[in-house]
C-alpha cells in the first residue's frame, strides 16, 4: 500500500495491539470455579427458582408468604396467593425480613458472659448451663413475645415442668380491645374485622393500614370498599382522632377531636342512631345522656359533623366502627372500646363486619397484661429472682424507662436471652442462645380461629450463624433435666401436635394432609368457635369512665407516641437498612426521628422544619428535630416508636430517639395494658438544627396537573370517553407561539410507537407492548411497593447523608400532596398519594440525549437502561421531568462502604441479592425497568411451554405486593387485557403529559372524592 495508511488498516492494527489480553476470548480476568452438587436435591434446578410456602413472623397478623430460593438461598419473599389474609400481597416489614435473616449483626453462636464480656461457647455447654440454672431455680420468669400455637404449647409445658412463670409481652398489646370485648360480649378476644364488606368506616384512630391488627387484610378490605366500584358506589371513611396517621390521610373526612374524647363522640353517634329506641340495651341510659350537642364543645368538633358521620353509618348498609390504635391508648381506653362496641351494635354491624365468634388469632392467642409485667418487675427488683429467660421480646428497649425494667432485670441473678441478634435486653444477658430466624424455622401460626399456616424453613440455617431453634433448645434442655416428653426435635413436636389435631378433624392420611398444608400454606379446620348470629350487649361488670382522662403534666400540649409505619414498635427490626431508608409514609423522612407539630403551634414557638427541640415531660427529656405537619391538632405533638436504639446493630444504633423514655409506665385500670397517650409535654427550642433526610420534594402541587381528582358526583355523571387533556391545553398554547410542533395523539395503544420515535426499534410484529396503570383511588400510600422493588431489583440503600442530599435511590417513590387538611374543624381531607416510577415514556426526553445510546425504547415498549453501556453523563436524569432516574454516585454494593455512612452490603446481606438482576456499580444510571427480568423470564418460560404469554404470567414486583391491588400491568396491545381496558377508563390520565408531551406508558386513575374540589390545582 504505497499510497499511505488506510483507515481500516489503522483500526486493524489498533485492534491487534489491544487483543493481547483477549487470548482466552471471554471476560476471564480471573479464575472462577463452577461448583457442582455432590448429590443434587431433586427439587432444585440450577438457575430456576424453587418456592416454599411459609408464614411471616414479623407481626401477629400471620400473613402467608411464598419464599423464592435459588440454589438453596432465599432471595425474595412474596405474599402467598392462597392465603386468605395476604392473598399474595406483602407489606414492607415482610419484605424486610430478608434483611433480618441475613442480618450481619446476628450472633455467631451461643455466648456466655464471663468477667463482664460475652464469650463464645458451644451449644452443648450452653444448654448444660441453662439446665443447671433451671434445676437450681425454684421459680423463674419466661418473658416471651407472640409465638405460634405449637411453640406456645411447648413453652407452656416446659414452663410447667420446670417451675417457670410465663409473661407474654407484646409492646403493641390490644388489652383494652380485648377487655371491652369481654365486657360487652363476654368474649376475651380480638374480633375479626371485615372492612371490605362495609359501606362506611369510622375509625377513632385505629391505624389499620400501616399496623394495628392485620395491615394486609385491612388494606385489601379498605381498598375494596373505598374505591369506586362497578355500581358507582364509593365507601366513605371518616377518621375521628387528634392526629392523621397514614390511615387518617386516606380518609374522606377528618373529625379532629380533642385528645381523649373518642368515647364521648362514639356515644354521641350511638345517640344519633338509636334515637330513642332501646337498641343499646343496658347502655341506653348512657347513650341517651350523650347527644352530639352535649359532647361537641369538649370534642372540639361541631355537633352537626358528629350527627352527619353517625347518619352515614346507617345510610347505605353495613358499616364498621374501629376503636383507637396504640397511639390513642389513654387511661380510659377500655371505655372507648366499649363505646365503639356499643356503636357497632347499635349500627347493626356485629356479626356482619365485626365478628366476635370467629375472632383473630384463635384460641391460642393470649397475652399477659402489662400489669403482670409490672408485678414481675417489682419481683425482680428485690433481687430474689434467680433466673429470667427472654424470647422474641426486647423489653429493655420497648418498655418506658420509668418502668424500671432495666434496673430490675439487672438484679436478676442469671439472665438468658434467645435473641438471634444483639438487642438492648440481650446486652444485659448472661447467656445467649441465639434463635433462628423464622425463614429458617419450623412452626405454625393461627391468624384466625380455626385457620392455620405451617411455617417451614425455606433454607438451611445461614451458615455464618450457629443458631438453634428455641423449640429444639427447650426440648434438649428438658431431656437433659429428665423432664418433658422425650421428643427429639421441635419438628417432631410440631408434627405430633398436628397429628393429634388432624385426628380430631377426622383426617385419615396425615402425610398427605401435612404435605398439602406445606404446599399450599393454609390449613382450614373446623372453626373452634361457637357460631353466634345474635350477640346481645351485656351489662358491664366494671366501672367505666367514658369521659376524657386526665393527662399528666402541665400546659396544653399532649404527647402522642405512635407505632411507626415502618418499624411498628421497632424493638427487633430496626437493624434493617431497607426500613431505615424507607421514607416514612407520613413525613417522608428516613433514618432519623422527628416530632410532628402543627404549623400554628410551630409558628407560635418560632420553630421551623429541622429545628431541634427539647421535649420534656415529668419522666424524661429528649432532643429531636421538628417536622411541621398540618395533619395534627394544634394541641398535640407526635413521636414515632422505633428510634433511639443503642444495642441493636450497626444500622439501627444512633438513629433518632426512643419516645418511650418520655412516658410513664402506667397500667390502664381496666385492661392492665400499658397507657401510651398519657402525658403533656413541654417544648423548648434549642439553637441546633438537624438536616432531616427527607425525600419529599414539594408538599403541594402548585397548579401542576400531577394528581388531579374527580368528585364522585362528576364521575357518576361523567362521560365514558377517555380524556387525556386536563383542561389546560398548554400544548395548544405552545403551538400558537410557534417553533414547537408536538405529536398529537390520544395516548391510546394503537398510536404507539409514535412516528419519529422509532429509532432503533427492530422488533417483530407480535411483540407485546407493556404498560401500567395505577389506581389512585385504591392506593393507600403504604409504600410496600417501594420495599418490594428494592428487594427485587437490588436497589442499593445509600445512607442518611446521601438521602439528605436528594440522592435517594428508590426506583419507585411514594409522593404525597396536601390539598385539604384542616386540624381546627371537621371537614374533608384531601391528601393525595402518587407512586412515581419511570413512566416509560413513548416520547421519552431521556432517550435522545444519551451520547452512548445506553437508554432507548425497546420494541416492547420499555424505556431500557443498559448499565454496561452507561458512561454516567447524567444528561438523561437532567431531562427527565419526573425525576425518576437515579445515579450511582458511589459503589453502594461492596462489602465495605466507600466512605463511612454510605450504603454497602456486608456479608451475608449480599445473599439476598436477586441473581436475575445486574448489580450496578458507581457511574451508572438506573431506574425502574418494569421488572424486565420478570418479563424475560416469563417469555422464556412461555417459549418452553406453549409459546403463549398469558396476562397473569408477568407481574411486576410492585404490582404483586400491593394489597390494595392498585397497580395493573400488562400488554396494552391485547384487547382483552385488564390494562387495555383500564387505560381507556374515564378517570385515566397521565402525569404532566399535557405540559411535557412525554406520552407515558404509565397511566393513573384519578382519585374520586366526595367533596367538590374548588382549588385551581385540580
Amino acid at each position: 500500500m504505497n499510497d499511505g495508511l488506510k483507515r481500516r488498516d489503522f483500526l486493524k492494527v489498533v485492534g491487534a495491539s489491544g487483543a493481547g489480553a483477549g487470548v482466552l476470548g471471554c471476560s476471564t480476568e480471573k479464575v472462577e470455579n463452577l461448583m457442582p452438587y455432590v448429590t443434587p436435591p431433586e427439587e432444585i434446578t440450577p438457575g430456576v427458582a424453587t418456592w416454599y410456602s411459609t408464614v411471616c413472623g414479623e407481626c401477629e397478623a400471620g400473613c402467608g408468604m411464598w419464599v423464592r430460593t435459588q440454589e438453596g438461598r432465599v432471595v425474595k419473599v412474596e405474599g402467598n396467593p392462597n392465603d386468605p389474609v395476604s392473598k399474595g400481597a406483602l407489606c414492607s416489614k415482610g419484605h424486610s425480613s430478608l434483611q433480618g435473616l441475613y442480618n450481619p449483626d446476628r450472633f455467631k453462636g451461643p455466648m456466655i458472659r464471663e468477667g463482664g464480656q460475652l464469650k463464645p461457647i458451644s451449644w452443648v455447654e450452653a444448654e448444660e448451663v441453662l439446665a443447671g440454672h433451671l434445676e437450681r431455680a425454684d421459680n423463674y420468669y419466661l418473658i416471651t413475645g407472640s409465638t405460634g400455637p405449637s411453640l406456645t404449647g411447648l413453652v407452656d409445658s416446659f414452663a410447667g415442668d420446670t417451675g417457670g412463670k410465663i409473661l407474654n409481652y407484646n409492646p403493641l398489646d390490644h388489652g383494652p380491645l380485648r377487655e371491652a370485648s369481654r365486657i360487652v360480649f363476654g368474649r376475651d378476644v380480638v374480633p375479626w374485622y371485615d372492612l371490605g364488606s362495609a359501606k362506611c368506616i369510622i375509625s377513632f384512630g385505629a391505624d389499620f393500614l400501616d399496623g394495628w391488627l392485620s395491615p394486609l387484610r385491612d388494606s385489601r378490605g379498605f381498598s375494596k370498599m373505598s374505591a369506586v366500584g362497578e355500581g358507582g358506589f364509593k365507601g366513605r371513611f371518616v377518621f375521628a382522632a387528634p392526629r392523621l396517621s397514614l390511615t387518617g390521610q386516606n380518609a374522606d373526612e377528618w373529625l379532629p377531636i380533642a385528645p381523649g374524647t373518642e368515647a364521648l363522640v362514639a356515644l354521641a353517634m350511638a345517640n344519633v342512631i338509636s334515637g330513642g329506641t332501646a337498641e343499646a340495651g343496658p347502655y341506653q341510659e348512657i347513650v341517651d345522656a350523650h347527644s352530639p350537642e352535649d359532647v361537641a364543645a369538649k370534642a372540639g368538633v361541631s355537633a352537626e359533623s358528629i350527627r352527619r358521620a353517625a347518619n352515614h353509618l346507617v345510610e347505605d348498609g353495613p358499616s364498621l366502627v374501629l376503636g383507637p390504635g396504640i397511639e390513642g391508648q389513654h387511661r380510659n381506653s377500655t371505655a372507648v372500646n366499649v363505646a365503639v362496641a356499643i356503636l357497632n351494635f347499635v349500627a347493626g354491624n356485629v356479626g356482619k363486619t365485626v365478628d366476635y365468634s370467629s375472632p383473630q388469632f384463635g384460641a391460642s392467642s393470649r397475652s399477659s397484661s402489662y400489669e403482670s409485667m409490672q408485678d414481675a418487675i417489682g419481683d425482680m427488683r428485690t433481687g430474689e429472682v434467680p433466673l429470667v429467660l427472654v424470647h422474641a421480646a426486647n423489653p429493655a428497649y420497648a418498655l418506658p424507662s420509668t418502668s424500671g425494667f432495666k434496673e430490675a432485670f439487672g438484679q436478676v441473678s442469671f439472665k438468658v436471652s434467645f435473641a438471634s441478634a444483639m438487642d438492648e435486653t440481650a446486652a444485659m444477658a448472661d447467656l445467649i442462645l441465639p434463635d433462628r430466624h423464622f425463614l429458617e424455622s419450623w412452626g405454625d401460626s393461627s391468624w384466625r380461629s380455626g385457620r392455620f399456616s405451617i411455617q417451614q424453613p425455606a433454607m438451611q440455617p445461614v451458615p455464618h450463624f450457629d443458631s438453634k431453634q428455641v423449640g429444639d433448645v427447650l426440648l434438649s434442655v428438658a431431656e437433659n433435666m429428665g423432664v418433658g416428653s422425650g421428643n427429639q426435635s421441635f419438628y417432631e413436636w410440631l408434627r405430633l401436635q398436628w397429628q393429634s389435631k388432624a385426628a380430631t378433624e377426622g383426617v385419615s392420611d396425615f402425610e398427605h394432609f401435612w404435605r398439602e398444608g406445606l404446599r399450599t400454606g393454609v390449613i382450614d379446620t373446623e372453626s373452634e368457635s361457637e357460631s353466634s348470629s345474635s350477640e346481645a350487649l351485656r351489662e358491664t361488670d366494671r366501672a367505666l369512665v367514658f369521659d376524657s382522662p386526665e393527662f399528666d403534666g402541665e400546659g396544653d400540649l399532649h404527647l402522642m407516641v405512635y407505632p411507626s409505619a415502618r418499624f411498628g414498635d421497632g424493638s427487633m427490626n430496626a437493624n434493617r437498612p431497607w426500613l431505615q431508608e424507607l421514607a416514612d409514609p407520613v413525613s417522608k423522612i428516613a433514618w432519623h426521628s422527628w416530632v410532628e407539630m402543627h404549623p400554628d403551634r410551630a409558628e407560635s414557638l418560632g420553630v421551623q422544619n429541622g429545628d431541634v427541640l427539647t421535649l420534656s415531660t415529668d419522666y424524661g427529656a429528649l432532643e429531636v428535630p421538628a417536622w411541621i405537619y398540618p395533619g395534627i391538632r394544634q394541641d398535640v405533638i407526635a413521636l414515632a416508636m422505633g428510634g433511639g436504639h443503642t444495642e441493636a446493630g450497626r444500622f439501627a444504633n444512633g438513629n433518632g430517639v426512643n419516645p418511650m423514655d418520655l412516658i410513664p409506665a402506667e397500667v390502664e385500670a381496666l385492661s392492665g395494658g400499658l397507657v401510651h397517650f398519657i402525658t403533656k409535654v413541654a417544648v423548648t427550642p434549642t439553637d441546633d438544627r438537624y438536616q432531616l433526610a427527607s425525600i419529599a420534594g414539594s408538599d403541594v402541587q402548585s397548579n401542576r396537573p400531577i394528581t388531579p381528582v374527580v368528585s364522585l358526583e362528576e364521575w357518576t355523571r361523567g362521560t365514558t370517553e377517555h380524556s387525556d387533556e386536563g383542561g389546560h391545553g398548554p400544548l395548544k398554547e405552545l403551538q400558537g407561539i410557534g417553533g414547537f410542533v408536538p405529536i398529537e395523539t390520544e395516548g391510546l395503544p394503537e398510536n404507539f410507537p409514535l412516528d419519529g420515535s422509532k429509532h432503533g426499534e427492530y422488533g417483530k410484529e407480535d411483540e407485546p407492548r407493556w404498560a401500567m396503570a395505577i389506581d389512585l383511588d385504591k392506593c393507600t400510600g403504604c409504600s410496600a411497593c417501594v420495599t418490594a422493588c428494592q428487594s427485587e431489583n437490588n436497589v442499593p440503600w445509600v445512607g442518611e447523608s446521601q438521602v439528605a442530599m436528594g440522592r435517594d435511590m428508590g426506583w419507585i417513590r411514594m409522593e404525597r400532596y396536601y390539598e385539604a387538611v384542616d386540624a381546627t374543624q371537621a371537614g374533608p381531607v384531601d391528601i393525595r398519594f402518587l407512586p412515581m416510577l419511570c413512566q416509560h415514556c413513548n416520547n421519552a426526553p431521556c432517550e435522545p440525549v444519551c451520547p452512548v445510546f445506553a437508554t432507548y425504547h425497546t420494541p416492547d415498549g420499555l424505556n431500557a437502561q443498559i448499565y454496561n453501556r452507561c458512561v454516567g453523563t447524567r444528561y438523561c436524569a437532567n431531562n427527565c421531568p419526573y425525576k425518576v432516574r437515579v445515579f450511582n454516585w458511589y459503589t453502594f454494593t461492596d462489602e465495605e462502604p466507600v466512605r463511612e455512612g454510605l450504603g454497602h452490603i456486608p456479608e451475608p446481606l449480599n445473599w439476598q441479592l436477586n441473581p436475575d438482576v445486574t448489580v450496578r456499580e458507581n457511574g451508572v444510571m438506573e431506574k425502574c425497568s418494569f421488572c424486565v427480568h420478570r418479563i424475560r423470564n416469563a417469555q422464556n418460560r412461555a417459549a418452553l411451554e406453549d409459546g403463549v404469554l398469558a396476562e397473569t404470567d408477568v407481574v411486576t414486583a410492585c404490582q404483586q405486593t400491593c394489597a390494595a391491588e392498585a397497580i395493573v400491568f400488562g400488554n396494552i396491545k391485547d384487547p382483552n387485557s385488564k390494562i387495555s381496558r383500564i387505560s381507556k377508563d374515564q378517570r385515566s390520565y397521565r402525569v404532566l403529559n399535557e405540559i411535557t408531551n412525554t406520552q407515558p406508558a404509565v397511566s393513573y386513575l384519578k382519585k374520586v372524592t366526595f367533596h367538590e374540589v374548588v382549588s385551581e390545582g385540580h
Binding site: E32, M35, V38, T45, G47, Y762, A864, V932
Partner: protein, 186 residues
C-alpha cells in the same frame, strides 16, 4: 517514501501506545485480578482439578451433552454434572491405564469425602449479560455452535468461539430473532 515511513512510524507508535495502555489499565481492575500482558500464560491458571477428557466421554462414548449438563434445556444455566453423575459410571469404570486410573480415583475421593469437584470455569459471558441456555436449546441451536467441537478437545483451555457480543448479535441477525439490548442486558 515519506508517506510509507510516516505510515510505519504511525503504526509503530500506535502499537507501543496500545501495549502501554494495556499494561497500565490492568492495575485499575478488581483487587483479585492479575495484570496480564500479551503472554497470557504467566499468571492465570486454568488447570482443572481432574483431567477430564471430553474426547472420551463425548467423543468415544458419545454421551449426549445434556446427560451431564442437565439443566440446559430448562434453565438459564447449563449445569455442571453433580459428582453423583460421575460416580454413576465411575463407581464401576476404573480406567484402562495408570493415568486414567489416577484421575478416576480423584473422582472417587471427592465422592467419598462428600466434596464437590471445584471445576474451573472456561466458558463465561460477562456478569451483565443474561444468557438463557434453555431458549437456545429450544431453538435447536446445537451445543457445538457456541462451544465448538468439544468432543475433539482433550482439555478445554481456550474458547474457540469469540463469545463476543458482536458474534452473538450476528447470529441473531442471521436467524432473524429478537436482538434488542434488553433481551440480554438487564
Amino acid at each position: 517514501m515519506t508517506k510509507r515511513w510516516i505510515g510505519r512510524l504511525t503504526i509503530g507508535f500506535v502499537i507501543i501506545l496500545g501495549c502501554l495502555a494495556l499494561v497500565f489499565s490492568q492495575e485499575n481492575g478488581e483487587d483479585d485480578s492479575v495484570s496480564s500482558s500479551a503472554e497470557s500464560s504467566t499468571v492465570l491458571d486454568f488447570t482443572q482439578p481432574i483431567a477430564f477428557p471430553h474426547t472420551i466421554h463425548a467423543g468415544v462414548d458419545q454421551i449426549d451433552c445434556q446427560y451431564c449438563h442437565f439443566s440446559a434445556e430448562r434453565s438459564v444455566d447449563a449445569g455442571i454434572p453433580p459428582v453423583s453423575t460421575c460416580m454413576g459410571c465411575h463407581m464401576v469404570i476404573g480406567g484402562s491405564d495408570e493415568v486414567q486410573q489416577a484421575e478416576i480415583q480423584k473422582v472417587r475421593d471427592y465422592w467419598a469425602a462428600k466434596e464437590p469437584i471445584p471445576w474451573v470455569r472456561i466458558y463465561k459471558v460477562a456478569d451483565h449479560v443474561h444468557f438463557p441456555h434453555m431458549r437456545h436449546v429450544a431453538a435447536n441451536v446445537d451445543c457445538t455452535t457456541c462451544h465448538g467441537e468439544v468432543k475433539e478437545f482433550e482439555v478445554i483451555e481456550t474458547v474457540n468461539q469469540p463469545l463476543s457480543m458482536g458474534w452473538c448479535v450476528s447470529c441473531h441477525v442471521e436467524q432473524n430473532v429478537r436482538r434488542d439490548c434488553t433481551v440480554c442486558h438487564y
